[in-house]
């Protein structure tokens, strides 16, 4: 029994890192541009599709595809922000909310539909096997280990960027106090654009890993976004270690629910957790008490 539990928790933690990566992108975009990107999940799936295409098209190793996916989606994010979000960014908060939701929802619909049209609505996955590592009676699937390793490296690099580079510090400044950042001369539109690029690239990277572990279909986008939202709220709005912890909690909970109640109850887990955290501690595990 304990062995099962440890195994499930381990799998959950490894999965949670992947979720946290995607949630992180969403969180950082919201902090800087005040836009909750409903199309985030769809961008993740696009990253997965690109990885899939490279794997089946030219036989690229799935882990190497990330070297292509990240730069491509950095640019995609830049363009998205510049073309679609910039025109609405100057509106009042309430109008921005409505406009950003409709806009990103619309983009999400377009992406889902076009990718279904281009590649078919059937599930896709990359079947790539590596021997697993067993440590102390617990099986560590190698793929998940490698993914976790990459995610940790990526997170450390990103953290370094946020703490030490000008743009990274600008991003944090804007998240903490938008007007204050403007006063000290931060170019908010430009930083927004870069942030969107980073967030999108993060999502796409998560996507290219996602497709190694799960089957994807074009209509998973919005449910995924909702799950990452649940993770952000769980961890606390505006807290990055919170997003990591939230991701792990959701990952572990999903594994446990899937094991004890059956696979089809895995999906609603994140939502149920969201409702619980809203009832018990609305600011999330690491959040500040105010919104």
């Amino acid at each position: 029994m304990a062995a099962y539990l440890t195994q499930l928790v381990t799998l959950g933690i490894l999965l949670g890192g992947l979720y946290a990566l995607a949630a992180f992108g969403l969180s950082v975009i919201f902090g800087v541009s005040r836009v909750l990107n409903v199309a985030h999940g769809d961008l993740l799936l696009l990253g997965a599709l690109l990885s899939y295409g490279l794997f089946f098209g030219i036989g690229m190793n799935p882990f190497v595809t990330m070297l292509v996916v990240v730069p491509v989606f950095l640019v995609v994010g830049f363009v998205f922000e510049r073309v679609l979000l910039r025109p609405i960014s100057r509106r009042s908060p309430h109008e921005l909310l409505i406009a950003s939701i409709i806009l990103t929802l619309g983009v999400s619909m377009v992406i889902s539909d076009l990718s279904a049209w281009a590649t078919g609505a059937a599930d896709k996955g990359i079947a790539y096997s590596l021997p697993s590592v067993t440590l102390g009676g617990v099986i560590f699937p190698s793929i998940r280990l490698i993914i976790m390793g990459v995610i940790i490296a990526f997170t450390i690099a990103l953290n370094f960027y946020l703490k030490n580079s000008y743009t990274g510090r600008a991003m944090r400044a804007i998240t903490q106090d938008r007007e204050g950042a403007m006063i000290v001369g931060v170019n908010i539109p430009r930083v927004s654009m870069i942030t969107f690029g980073i967030g999108t690239a993060t999502a796409a990277l998560a996507g290219s890993f996602y497709i190694m572990l799960f089957a994807t279909n074009p209509y998973l986008g919005v449910p995924l976004t909702v799950k990452y939202l649940a993770i952000i709220v769980l961890g606390g709005l505006g807290s990055l270690p919170g997003a990591l912890l939230g991701g792990i909690v959701v990952g572990v909970a999903e594994q446990l629910a899937g094991f004890y109640y059956g696979g089809r109850w895995q999906e609603p887990v994140a939502l149920v957790l969201l409702i619980i955290i809203l009832l018990v501690r609305p600011q999330g595990l690491f959040g500040r008490a105010s919104t």
Binding site: V35, I88, R91, I98, A99, I102, L105, G106, D113, L271
Partner: protein, 314 residues
């Protein structure tokens, strides 16, 4: 409202009421019934989405819940009236249960979290097979009910429109709009925002639940996708946005326009993909160019003023 507008309105309602008796065109009657359905859904969405300013993307959960509760009760042999009352009660319960946790969120977080509720219902409808028949859906005994459903739909649509109007003109509506503009300031004015938000959500949930009952009464079949699916979820919101969110009859305009587009264009163009893209592009354009909706555009000002309806386009 000027007398002309009232006369035109009365004529339209009379025409709609007489239609099933003079025309045997079931396609037309069904299309108008669908128009009633979307009107009810879009207008009731806007009570919370437009007047209160909280975008409840999961609004259709009330519709699906009402439809399923109604079906389950009918299947177990209860009378339709009892089933409808049960559906109503379920919707009220849902609204009250949702209010406590969800109104702690604001803006986009609220929007996505409520959408999550819808997804949850979708999953649960599939998973609880003993209760909901899962993927097979619930089938009810065949009874020719199109005309009945039509008149019920007409009545419900009129009641929903009247409620929207009543809310817009009342102190309740004023409280909602104040909360929308600045919730903290509203609280300092003595508006108990939690109470008003919960009340608005409950009112907005009643109409879709009843419409769900009417829908099942007509179709005699319900399935998780038709109750909680993406299409039924997003259309009313797209209609409210396109028509004019926050305006009294904005969603009505959007519902009528998009239903017309559906009937005229999409009936003839049967594509497997592309429809969602078209709606998505429309949403993007609305967000960038026309976020206030069709009812507030400049070229509608004069006709509305001539009819004395400009107050309903604020």
């Amino acid at each position: 409202m000027k007398k002309l507008a009232m006369l035109v309105g009365a004529l339209i309602v009379a025409y709609l009421a007489a239609l099933p008796m003079v025309s045997g065109n079931t396609f037309l009657i069904a299309s108008i019934l669908i128009a009633f359905m979307y009107t009810v859904l879009a207008q009731s969405y806007d009570i919370v989405g437009g007047h209160l300013g909280y975008m409840n993307l999961g609004h259709v959960s009330f519709f699906g819940l009402g439809a399923y509760v109604f079906s389950i009760f009918i299947l177990r042999g209860y009378a339709p009236i009892t089933a409808a009352v049960a559906a109503l009660a379920a919707a009220v319960c849902l609204a009250l249960v949702m209010s406590y946790p969800f109104f702690r969120l604001r803006g986009a977080y609220f929007a996505l979290a409520t959408f999550g509720v819808l997804l949850l219902f979708h999953r649960v409808a599939f998973n609880l097979e003993d209760l909901t028949m899962g993927t097979a859906g619930i089938s009810l005994p065949p009874v020719d009910s199109l005309v009945q459903a039509y008149y019920l739909g007409l009545a419900l649509a009129l009641i929903t429109l009247a409620t929207s109007l009543a809310i817009a003109r009342s102190r309740f509506g004023l409280a909602l709009r104040t909360i929308r503009e600045d919730e903290e300031v509203a609280e300092t004015f003595g508006i108990n925002s939690y109470y008003y938000k919960a009340a608005a959500l409950t009112i907005s949930g009643v109409f879709p639940a009843l419409m769900g009952c009417i829908f099942v009464w007509w179709q005699k079949y319900i399935h998780p996708d038709s109750a909680f699916g993406l299409e039924i979820a997003l259309f009313p919101i797209a209609m409210a946005m396109l028509g004019g969110t926050g305006a009294v009859f904005g969603p009505l305009v959007g519902a009528l326009f998009l239903t017309a587009v559906e009937d005229l264009i999409w009936v003839n163009v049967q594509v497997e993909y592309g429809k969602l893209t078209a709606y998505g592009i429309v949403l993007v354009l609305v967000a960038i160019a026309m976020p206030h909706g069709m009812i507030r555009t400049r070229w509608l000002r004069r006709p509305l003023r001539a009819l004395g309806l400009e107050d309903y386009a604020i």
